[in-house]
């Protein structure tokens, strides 16, 4: 029976140390994080050096890797201290840095030799000669432009042996990443230095204007023009990605929640393991798709993997309804004798709620809560306070680290 030994990596986002640990517990082979400088997600929780040390220790103890995104495009003066920064990352044991600006790439390679460098998707690498160029510069891996299709990846594989990383899930830029300064011009926030105001997702009038001020509207009044992409989800095409030779499956979302990170990492871990164990008999589990919808923020598509995106891959008009789940708590402890779970509250929940428990290795069960106590076993109807510790009886065993979610109305 054929199996795949050289499994692709599942690479998850980790905006915080807590999310880093959750991502790894839920099956990520690697996580990417941001430091205090040089990264594009200035509004995500970023890691201090001490937090990086703790994260690296946690990850390496579990055979997982930690990458740091340093993917700004520097202006004059922005690279001051970058050499020392990269040296510190190397000393901490960071497994690679993700960089797009050639100036920063050069600093990393020259001043922190031994620290692997990955080309960020912000550089929009879309052909194999670009991959070869960066490999000859000493880069270990290239994160492809999100405009690259499956057939193009196969062609790249015939011309290069540099590691290929590709986005498989999450939000997407509508333009070539890096080649967009809508935010600079419309909002005075530099898209390539972490300030992106997501102007592509705004609504616009579209018009001809033969002379200044004389607009001839083209926009359908009920449906404004916009440039908002739906999100990517490649769960139904894992075999194609593996067979094309993608080495790392990247999940977008350093700004996203623990609920998202745990759910998405869990699903792709299952799919990758399942395919690699027995490619001939692999079947997509519909439960994986259902699971991804529980944390979806938008509709989902396959981006450019199977051709140029159409109107269906953009968010025009009214949004379609989708399920919404609230992340309500996490399991801190479980007493098998009493069949009692200790829960840390993350959102209001209580007696009568139908709660889904899920955990690493894709374990799931749902039950209606019948009783609820606080830490001192005083009876509660609701758990209203953030991070409060409470206890609930459960019919099936749970584990510390399992999560609780509750279905809401369609949104």
């Amino acid at each position: 029976m054929r199996t795949i030994q050289n499994k692709p990596e599942v690479l998850a986002p980790a905006g915080t140390l807590e999310k880093l640990k959750v991502a790894i517990d839920y099956g990520a082979d690697a996580v990417y994080i941001g430091g205090d400088a040089y990264g594009l997600r200035t509004r995500a929780g970023n890691f201090s050096f001490d937090q990086m040390r703790e994260g690296v220790a946690y990850a390496h103890a579990r055979h997982a890797k930690v990458y740091v995104a340093a993917n700004i495009v520097a202006h004059e003066g922005d690279t001051a201290g970058a050499g020392r920064f990269f040296q510190t990352l190397r000393e901490i044991g960071i497994d690679a840095v993700i960089v797009s600006d050639p100036a920063l790439i050069e600093i990393a390679i020259l001043e922190a030799p031994g620290l692997p460098v990955h080309l960020s998707t912000q550089a929009s690498a879309a052909n194999y000669e670009t991959l070869n160029f960066w490999q000859s510069e000493g880069l270990e891996r290239v994160v492809l432009a999100r405009e690259v299709g499956i057939e193009e990846i196969k062609e790249m594989r015939r011309h290069t042996d540099v590691q290929i990383e590709a986005f498989i899930h999450g939000a997407m830029c509508i333009g070539y990443s890096g080649r967009c300064v809508l935010s600079n011009h419309m909002s005075m926030r530099d898209a390539n230095r972490g300030g992106c105001a997501q102007n592509c997702r705004w609504k616009y009038d579209l018009f001809e204007m033969p002379t200044a001020g004389q607009r001839e509207e083209e926009t359908d009044a009920k449906t404004p023009f916009t440039m908002s992409a739906v999100d990517m989800a490649m769960i139904e095409h894992i075999p194609d990605l593996i067979e094309a030779g993608v080495n790392s499956f990247k999940i977008e979302g350093r700004m996203k929640s623990i609920h998202y990170v745990s759910t998405v990492a869990n699903v792709y871990r299952q799919a990758v393991d399942s395919y690699c164990a027995d490619p001939e008999h692999y079947q997509l589990d519909p439960a994986w798709v259902d699971e991804l919808w529980k944390v979806a923020q938008r509709e989902m598509s396959t981006g450019f993997y199977y051709g140029t995106p159409t109107a269906d891959d953009e968010l025009f008009g009214k949004r379609r309804k989708r399920p919404s789940y609230a992340f309500v708590g996490e399991v801190m402890a479980y007493d098998p004798a009493k069949k009692l779970a200790t829960i840390r509250q993350r959102n209001n929940f209580g007696v009568g709620d139908q709660i889904e428990f899920y955990g690493p290795h894709f374990t799931h069960h749902t039950e209606t809560l019948t009783q609820l106590w606080d830490e001192d076993y005083d009876i509660l109807l609701r758990a209203p306070d953030a991070m409060m510790i409470c206890k609930v009886p459960v019919t099936q065993p749970v584990k510390p680290g399992d999560m609780l979610r509750r279905a809401n109305q369609l949104v």
Binding site: V73, A74, H75, E76, D78, T79, S100, D101, P102, A103, I105, E106, A123, A125, A126, N127, Y128, E129, T130, N132, F133, A145, E147, V148, E152, I174, G175, Y176, G178, R179, C180, V181, N184, H185, M186, M188, R189, D190, N192, G195, K203, D205, L206, E208, M209, T211, A212, G213, E218, T223, F225, T226, M227, T308, P309, T310, A311, E314, F316, G317
Partner: protein, 306 residues
């Protein structure tokens, strides 16, 4: 000083050379981004000797973002350009640089990755990889050019007239919209003249069009840095590009003449603010009626952009 202008036709190339520009910039959309017209090889065979006979230069645009299919065409195209003895190409995709260095290392290239060329350190990286110049992003204000200019190891090129591209998508954003609203229109090309604006902003007008390189969106107003040329001259940033993407062919030549006059005045030491204002008015007078002009990011305080 080196005045570089786009070219829309053989006739315009002739007029621009007669007007006194130093370098013609042209190409075709298969390889170059956002050009006023496709100038194919047959016309290059006319234009290149014509420019050289006048003691002028020709740079060809090879600055698109290439996928696998087109990077192979770049290989052959660079040979053609070298055989035609063009003086340089612009390149923004490192894959094309890799190909150039394998195939025609004698062909000069100017690094042009548009919005991401924002520091001397980056320009100098490409200089160490053979670039003979670089096009500086239009988002670099004067306050940063002051520190950048003395650090550059190869000349930095500044766009001083014309449209500023602020977004390139690989998707057909206009046709996707027309499809969604079931208003199946054929045209989303540049000649049609579509704009977008935020509904509350009645004075805004961002050009948008589609071509083989995707969908392109441009800044609200075009650049006119005529009155800033003396500052750029003092910084030693004297490679000036005029982009006639949206400008009528004849009016673009008139605009080029105004910049030639400015260049001559700087060289002769006869530049005055009054002359600059007068020449700037000539630019304004020849600007398309549906497009504004301003100085873009040039005068913005770098600390204002977060």
């Amino acid at each position: 000083m080196n005045l570089i202008t786009t070219v829309a036709s053989v006739q315009q190339a002739e007029a621009l050379l007669a007007a006194g520009v130093d370098t013609l910039y042209l190409g075709e959309s298969e390889f170059g981004l956002r050009l006023p017209a496709d100038i194919h090889q047959a016309d290059l065979k006319t234009i290149v000797p014509m420019a050289h006979a006048a003691g002028k230069k020709v740079t060809v645009a090879v600055n698109a973002i290439f996928h696998n299919d087109r990077i192979e065409k770049v290989r052959a195209y660079l040979h053609v350009l070298a055989d035609l003895k063009v003086d340089a190409v612009t390149i923004g995709d490192p894959g094309a640089i890799h190909v150039l260095q394998q195939e025609v290392p004698e062909l000069a290239y100017i690094y042009d990755a548009e919005v991401v060329v924002t520091s001397a350190q980056q320009v100098n990286f490409w200089a160490r990889h053979g670039a003979t110049g670089a096009v500086i992003a239009r988002e670099v204000p004067y306050g940063e050019l002051v520190t950048m200019a003395p650090e550059l190891t190869v000349p930095g090129e500044i766009q001083v007239y014309g449209a500023t591209c602020i977004h390139q998508s690989g998707r057909p954003l206009l046709h996707n919209y027309f499809d969604f609203v079931k208003d199946h229109q054929d045209r989303a090309d540049r000649q049609r003249g579509l704009f977008i604006a935020i509904p509350q902003h009645q004075n805004d007008h961002y050009s948008i069009y589609e071509d083989r390189n995707g969908t392109h969106i441009f800044a609200n107003n075009d650049l006119n840095l005529m009155t800033k040329l003396d500052q750029l001259y003092q910084l030693g940033l004297t490679n000036w590009k005029l982009d006639g993407l949206f400008t009528d062919e004849t009016q673009f030549v008139a605009i080029a003449k105004a910049f030639v006059a400015a260049k001559q005045a700087l060289a002769a030491g006869t530049w005055t603010p009054a002359l600059a204002a007068e020449l700037s008015q000539q630019v304004v007078a020849n600007q398309p009626v549906n497009r504004g002009l301003d100085t873009g990011f040039y005068e913005i305080d770098p600390s204002e952009v977060q």
